[in-house]
């Protein structure tokens, strides 16, 4: 259970009003419980990323949503690519995987 107070200590340089605003703007999506917000580790990492984007990379607050949206799309694609790779790894026969690999790299892989 990660509370908002714990997040504030885990992420150095983070101010409570900033975090609360990001939650309101749905840049971070902690679970809401009777006892307040509950964060998961992915949320903490995302808060850290948002703070770095704003303070170190100078992405201003207005641009944060679009930058995060693009990153989310990118990660979505990469997650799917990984899932696809795993599915192929579990189901495709070796020669099919080799054929795909040689198709993608543009040359013939040596026999494994």
């Amino acid at each position: 259970m990660i509370s908002i107070d714990l997040v504030l200590t885990l992420v150095s340089g983070l101010q409570r009003p900033d975090l609360e605003r990001w939650i309101v703007h749905r840049l971070v999506l902690p679970d809401s419980t009777a006892g307040g917000y509950v964060f998961r580790e992915v949320d903490v990492a995302r808060v850290r990323l948002i703070r770095e984007l704003r303070d170190d990379l100078l992405v201003n607050e207005e641009a944060l949503p679009i930058v995060l949206s693009l990153l989310d799309q990118l990660y979505e694609v990469r997650r799917r690519m990984r899932e696809l790779g795993q599915a192929l790894g579990r189901t495709a026969p070796l020669e099919v995987r080799q054929a795909i690999a040689s198709q993608l790299t543009g040359h013939i892989e040596p026999d494994l």
Partner: protein, 308 residues
């Protein structure tokens, strides 16, 4: 462990502002969340962060400068980056489709595997979609373009297309062959093949819209005395009379012997421009010219002299 000043590319007497600026510049380039899948950027970013960690803290920087701690002295265990979660299952929380959107749907699979089952199909939804138009170029003979012809075009993939050139096809014209492009998707119709026509030049004919021109060599006798000559036309040779007293540059018109009538346009004409050719040396001609007194002596270069 590299020297943190070198890592950030700043001098040892750099101000805190310089250090912050240098760090921001490098972080923008190497931040791992902006370079997913680039392990080199990640390593570089860790080094940059560690250097910044040390130098951005005035107290730590002073201890490092004084040699009390080494560059790695205050390095903290690396924190997991957002990417470590984002690409895994927990990253689905921030999926553009929403955290509850479950994995894969038919369209995703179509996006990924569609090309396995017949051609590109960009920009379509789930429904039937028309195949892409495909562009080709085809170089044709001059005469085929004038009179019209059907020619076979072999595509890069080995298919053949019969291209029907209409009479009067012009250079650069694009012919649309319906249904000969890429196959459709989900039962959609095929795209069209768009064939751009290039016309190879002819040894003696040239096109001028629907008219055809050529330069017709004639003998001195034919030019001076006139006489029947055979003139090549796009539809085969035609006999005509060269009028007496013709000269180089005399233009003769053969009505209707250019591009055939097509698509509601009248047939064009053939223009033959005469060019007198003397041929091999002729003793009799030379003897005659030595005694010849021209009826109208004149200077053919007169107009050039006037312009001098």
């Amino acid at each position: 462990m590299d020297d943190p000043y070198t890592t950030l590319g700043v001098k040892r007497d750099a101000s805190q502002d310089d250090i912050r600026r240098a760090y921001r510049g490098l972080a923008k380039k190497h931040h791992p969340d902006l370079n997913p899948g680039n392990a080199k950027a990640e390593d570089r970013f860790k080094t940059i962060s560690a250097a910044n960690e040390l130098l951005s803290d005035v107290a730590k920087r002073a201890r490092f400068d004084a040699g009390e701690i080494d560059a790695a002295g205050q390095e903290r265990p690396p924190q997991p980056t957002y990417r470590d979660y984002a690409e895994g299952a927990s990253g689905r929380r921030y999926s553009p489709a929403g955290p509850d959107a479950s994995g894969w749907n038919a369209q995703d699979l179509g996006d990924m595997f569609g090309s396995m089952f017949g051609g590109d199909h960009r920009g379509r939804g789930d429904g039937p979609a028309r195949g892409q138009d495909e562009r080709y170029s085809f170089t044709t003979d001059f005469l085929d373009a004038v009179t019209g012809a059907t020619r076979r075009l072999t595509l890069p993939d080995g298919r053949t297309l019969d291209v029907k050139l209409p009479p009067g096809t012009s250079n650069g014209q694009v012919l649309r062959l319906r249904g000969q492009g890429a196959a459709g998707w989900n039962g959609g119709t095929s795209g069209d093949a768009l064939v751009e026509i290039a016309i190879a030049p002819h040894p003696f004919f040239t096109r001028d819209g629907n008219d055809v021109r050529l330069e017709l060599p004639v003998t001195l006798t034919e030019a001076v005395l006139g006489g029947p000559v055979e003139v090549p036309t796009p539809n085969g040779p035609v006999r005509m009379r060269v009028p007496a007293r013709s000269d180089t540059g005399t233009e003769l018109r053969l009505r209707g012997r250019g591009v055939p009538a097509h698509a509601g346009q009248d047939a064009g004409d053939l223009y033959a421009t005469l060019r007198v050719v003397l041929g091999k040396p002729d003793a009799a001609l030379e003897t005659f010219l030595q005694t010849w007194k021209p009826e109208h002596p004149g200077n053919p270069r007169h107009s050039m002299e006037a312009n001098r």
